[in-house]
């Protein structure tokens, strides 16, 4: 009888968590939504009312279709439901159209497609074995992990307030990671290939997938010391992997190849004409770089070392997505960022090849790829941090070291999303949800690892606590000061620089831990 109770209780909590967060998402329907709402409405209209040949040429709205074909097909499928809600939203010329039915449909489409995310989290919880601590439900790694993923603050505000479809895409990624953990490599590869054709930002983590599948799937055995055994290479596996990727790509890009439109599609997908930083600087290396440049130019002006007339006028924080010249430091070109990103990714890839540590090692490499490209990429959005935060949650319940890095990364990364929501009614929501998630994640992981050394040293604690005063200054003090008109960009600048420090720190620490970790063979001997 007790066993039955435990079994039903074991299944119940997951559905309760998932349903609970779904209901919360429903409550968020009337909140503010950004221009991305119009972007997706426009894409619904384009895919619904135009032939395929025009999808990537249509330019009535400034929000042209710039996601890969599968996403376009996804919008096409949605549009056939949308027509039962409101036919008007499917008209390409109906720019900025918004009715209550459109709102309901779009919001519900996000909530509904999140089912895939919930399923993926369920699968992940099955295959991740975290540290075994207490007997109580709330102290089980699986419970903590599902809360961390399902109730993720970033996803909630980016998808359900700001409006995007990250939940379902992240679901695909988590599902493919879970499949790799479950040794179902082909499925994992297939899912990832599909994901790539939904949103090409996942190209950043493709090296991790490629190398891992090649090293740990195509080579069927290792030498006893963990190094590669060349004669164990399986051509069959390589060919089947290649076939899967090829078929998926053919399905996605084939029609456009047939229409001879591939160059046009690619020019839409990779718009290098945009600036180095997004309107609001993502908290990465370039934010620090630009802040340093700004500081140097101010110092230079004060000391009369620079000629004011030679300084370019375009301010980086003026809010427009545009090219920008640095004043003192050399300006950064797309090629330079590409090289920086590659250099940053390489060590982790080498590590994955020479010190294979099974799926866990792959997961670390994937996170490092995501983080490195976030750090050095061209025109990075602050939302891209979710690409690293979500997989990192899987690691966090395993080891105390990972947990502390996860907490620093998540807290600063989430805080850096705050400027996305700048309207007054959403202010309490973002603060409350952020507090909810942060307090829960920190305390639950502390409880999980209470027998080990404390998760944070004094410096990290001080840094994280500093986010509180920063928020108070940016949102409650600054608007009432006289600087508001003269330097309106100060809160954004402070936020992104402060967060950039934390994210760089977490990235660096994660890298050190990956590079210095002993390979599997040695740990087994110990």
């Amino acid at each position: 009888m007790a066993a039955v109770g435990v079994a039903t209780g074991g299944g119940n909590w997951f559905s309760a968590l998932a349903l609970g967060v779904t209901l919360l998402k429903c409550l968020l329907i009337p909140t503010y939504h950004s221009t991305d709402f119009e972007v997706h409405r426009n894409w619904l209209a384009i895919t619904h009312s135009l032939p395929i040949s025009q999808w990537y040429y249509e330019a009535t709205s400034e929000w042209t279709l710039d996601y890969p074909p599968f996403f376009a097909w996804f919008e096409y499928a949605l549009s056939h439901v949308a027509k039962y809600f409101d036919q008007e939203m499917l008209n390409v010329r109906n720019l900025n159209y918004s009715s209550s039915r459109t709102l309901l449909f779009q919001r519900f489409s996000v909530i509904f497609t999140d089912t895939l995310f919930v399923y993926a989290v369920h699968e992940c919880c099955k295959c991740i074995d975290g540290k075994k601590a207490g007997k109580e439900l709330t102290e089980k790694p699986k419970f903590i992990l599902s809360v961390l993923l399902l109730w993720n603050f970033g996803l909630l505000i980016v998808d359900h307030i700001h409006f995007q479809y990250n939940g379902f895409l992240s679901g695909l990624m988590l599902l493919s990671i879970a499949r790799l953990f479950q040794k179902r490599h082909m499925e994992g590869a297939f899912l990832f290939a599909v994901l790539l054709h939904f949103k090409h930002i996942y190209l950043y983590v493709a090296p991790a997938y490629g190398v891992y599948l090649l090293r740990s799937y195509c080579f069927t055995a290792n030498k006893p010391d963990g190094s590669i055994r060349w004669n164990s290479f399986s051509f069959l596996r390589l060919i089947s992997l290649g076939l899967i990727v090829f078929l998926v790509s053919a399905l996605s890009l084939g029609p456009f190849l047939a229409l001879n439109q591939l160059p046009q599609v690619f020019s839409r997908l990779f718009p290098f004409k945009r600036g180095l930083c997004h309107a609001y600087w993502a908290p990465n290396f370039w934010a620090l770089y630009s802040a340093l440049d700004k500081m140097l130019s101010i110092i230079g002006l004060e000391l009369k070392l620079l000629d004011p007339s030679k300084i370019p006028k375009a301010s980086m924080t003026s809010g427009l997505v545009q090219q920008f010249q640095h004043t003192v430091l050399p300006s950064v070109t797309p090629l330079a960022t590409l090289i920086c990103t590659l250099i940053a990714i390489l060590p982790s890839i080498f590590c994955l090849w020479f010190k294979p540590q099974g799926p866990r090692g792959f997961l670390r490499c994937l996170i490092l790829c995501a983080l490195s490209s976030f750090m050095f990429g061209w025109h990075v959005h602050e939302k891209a941090i979710l690409l690293a935060v979500l997989p990192m949650s899987l690691l966090s319940v395993g080891k105390a070291g990972d947990a502390s890095m996860f907490l620093i990364l998540t807290t600063t990364g989430h805080y850096s999303l705050f400027p996305l929501l700048f309207t007054a009614p959403e202010l309490p929501i973002k603060i409350l949800l952020m507090l909810l998630f942060t307090i829960y994640s920190i305390s639950s992981l502390k409880t999980l690892f209470r027998k080990e050394k404390p998760l944070f040293n004094w410096m990290e604690t001080f840094y994280l606590l500093g986010l509180g005063p920063l928020e108070v200054f940016c949102e409650f003090v600054f608007p009432f000061t006289s600087w508001k008109l003269k330097y309106p960009f100060i809160p954004l600048l402070l936020t992104s620089v402060y967060c950039a420090v934390g994210i760089t720190y977490a990235w660096f620490k994660l890298y050190v831990s990956v590079l210095t970790d002993p390979p599997v063979g040695k740990t087994k001997k110990q």
Partner: protein, 509 residues
């Protein structure tokens, strides 16, 4: 206290839900000339800050009592005054005399919603958290689950944050809860002080006053009326009188002032009931128009007699056996009697019953959850009028899931869990085959839930026939009223058969 963080998370979740609900529409939004309860609250701020205290309750050239005149006790007025000072600091237009009538803007809505949240955060939520932490004989996890369920109770959230009642329920209910806490843990003076504040904030709190009175009187009797009990009685009386005098001080200067306030508080010249209420009189008048047939004073007499009779047994029982548990159940049954039988009841007064039911969630999880669902359902017509369908459905589902997961209510339907053991035993003395009660209750629950869901669906999707425009709202009242009657009987049974149960437990111990 290492589970402290979970309690914090629960409170934060409760606050988030409250704020998200508050983004929706409020009563009377954009509906001149009278607007709604939201405008009433704003109007009171306008009156209290611009007029001298002597004119607050009087009709005058600056204070038209027909337009949302102040009809709540002094503490409400003081609270409005406090809010008005803040409003004046932010934007004086919001409370300018005469010109601000029907003022509506996004910023003002934000301000009004924030006042509710702050009042809630200061008074109601701490009381709930403290109440759950003080519960005995259960694990920390259960305490937190209990707090989650109470904080997620949809009725209160929807009325305070969605509909925006012209009186902050969270304040009056919060004070009452502080009172319950104080009295249950032998801080009698503080408890009665808190309860006096509750009454002085909202006169409807009188629904709860009899159990308080009986419980405290019972305590005095227990200590012996000739010794300690008498001292306690005197102390209590002094506290009550002192706190009342303090609240009413500005109105005691003239006799006419006090009388006018009282007249405003108890408008006996209004009808037996207003709008559609899920009480006996409204339901009964579907068949027989009592309001038109009987003269006014007879209506008052009848409602008084019925109320008195229905709450008499529970109160007598409480006076004779004052236990904290009995006190909570008596609070439920008394408030329910008042709601069902008394004069001039509003549909929102069901919240006064819901609060004590929330407190017995742990003792009778199945029945309490059921009651709380019905209570929210009974306000459906009101919520629909305010376009709050979506948040209502969502919060009700969230509440139901929270209760079902944290108490596993469906496994708790045995006689023991329903607290009907001693009742069934005594009935079985006469009818030995009386063993089907739990099953009947389960079936009733199913029927009731299905009816509620169907009625909600019908109300939302179908247009009522032209001859009977109020068909659905009357049906909602009728169904809720039947449910409430059943609950009245149930709770009275629990109260009356409680002591035997207690004695049995003592024997077992």
């Amino acid at each position: 206290m290492e589970k402290c963080y979970l309690m914090t998370a629960v409170v934060l979740l409760g606050l988030t839900v409250r704020w998200t609900v508050s983004l929706n529409s409020y009563s009377g939004a954009g509906k001149p000339p009278m607007f709604g309860d939201y405008e009433a609250q704003r109007h009171w701020q306008e009156i209290t800050i611009n007029l001298p205290i002597k004119q607050w309750y009087f009709n005058g050239s600056d204070n038209n009592l027909q337009y949302w005149g102040l009809d709540y006790p002094p503490l409400t007025a003081y609270h409005s005054l406090l809010c008005a000072y803040v409003a004046k600091f932010i934007n004086p237009d919001w409370i300018a005399l005469h010109t601000s009538r029907g003022y509506e803007s996004q910023a003002h809505k934000l301000f009004m919603r924030a006042t509710v949240l702050i009042a809630d955060l200061l008074i109601y939520i701490p009381a709930v958290v403290l109440y759950c932490c003080c519960l005995k004989e259960i694990s920390t996890k259960k305490k937190i689950a209990n707090a989650l369920c109470i904080l997620l109770y949809p009725g209160l959230i929807l009325i305070d944050y969605g509909h925006f009642q012209n009186i902050y329920n969270s304040v009056s209910l919060g004070f009452a809860l502080w009172g319950v806490l104080g009295v249950s843990y032998d801080w009698d003076l503080l408890g009665s002080l808190a309860f006096c504040l509750a009454i002085n904030y909202k006169q409807m709190e009188l629904y709860h006053s009899l159990p308080f009175f009986c419980f405290l009187l019972g305590k005095c009797f227990k200590k012996g009326l000739k010794g300690k009990g008498f001292v306690l009685l005197i102390k209590l009386a002094c506290t009550v009188v002192a706190s009342f005098i303090l609240c009413w001080l500005p109105f005691f200067t003239e006799r006419e002032q006090t009388l006018q306030v009282l007249r405003r508080l108890f408008p006996v010249d209004r009808g037996l009931f207003e709008d559609k209420v899920a009480n006996i009189w409204c339901t009964f008048s579907v068949f027989l128009k009592i309001r038109d047939i009987l003269p006014h004073h007879i209506q008052i007499m009848i409602s008084f007699c019925f109320t008195f009779l229905s709450l008499l047994p529970a109160c007598v029982k409480l006076t004779l056996h004052p236990t904290p548990k009995g006190f909570k159940f008596t609070l439920v049954s008394c408030a329910l009697s008042f709601f069902l039988f008394s004069f001039q009841v509003h549909e929102k007064s069901i919240l006064l019953v819901s609060l004590p039911v929330c407190l017995v969630l742990r003792e009778v999880p199945f029945m309490s959850t059921w009651f709380l669902l019905v209570s929210t359902f009974s306000m459906l017509p009101l919520l629909l009028k305010d376009e709050l369908l979506m948040p209502s459905v969502v919060t009700v589902m969230a509440f139901f899931i929270a209760c079902a997961t944290s108490f596993s209510i469906f496994e708790k339907t045995s006689e023991e869990e329903l607290q009907l053991k001693s009742f069934s035993i005594s009935v079985r003395k006469y009818f030995p085959c009386f063993t089907f009660l739990p099953r009947i209750i389960q079936h009733l629950f199913l029927i009731s839930v299905i009816t509620m869901v169907l009625l909600t669906l019908m109300t939302v999707t179908l247009d009522p026939p032209q001859k009977l425009p109020d068909l659905f709202s009357v049906l909602v009242c009728f169904v809720s009223c039947l449910n409430f009657l059943f609950f009245l009987v149930y709770f009275n049974i629990i109260i009356m058969w409680d002591s035997k149960n207690g004695r049995n437990q003592k024997k077992v111990n």
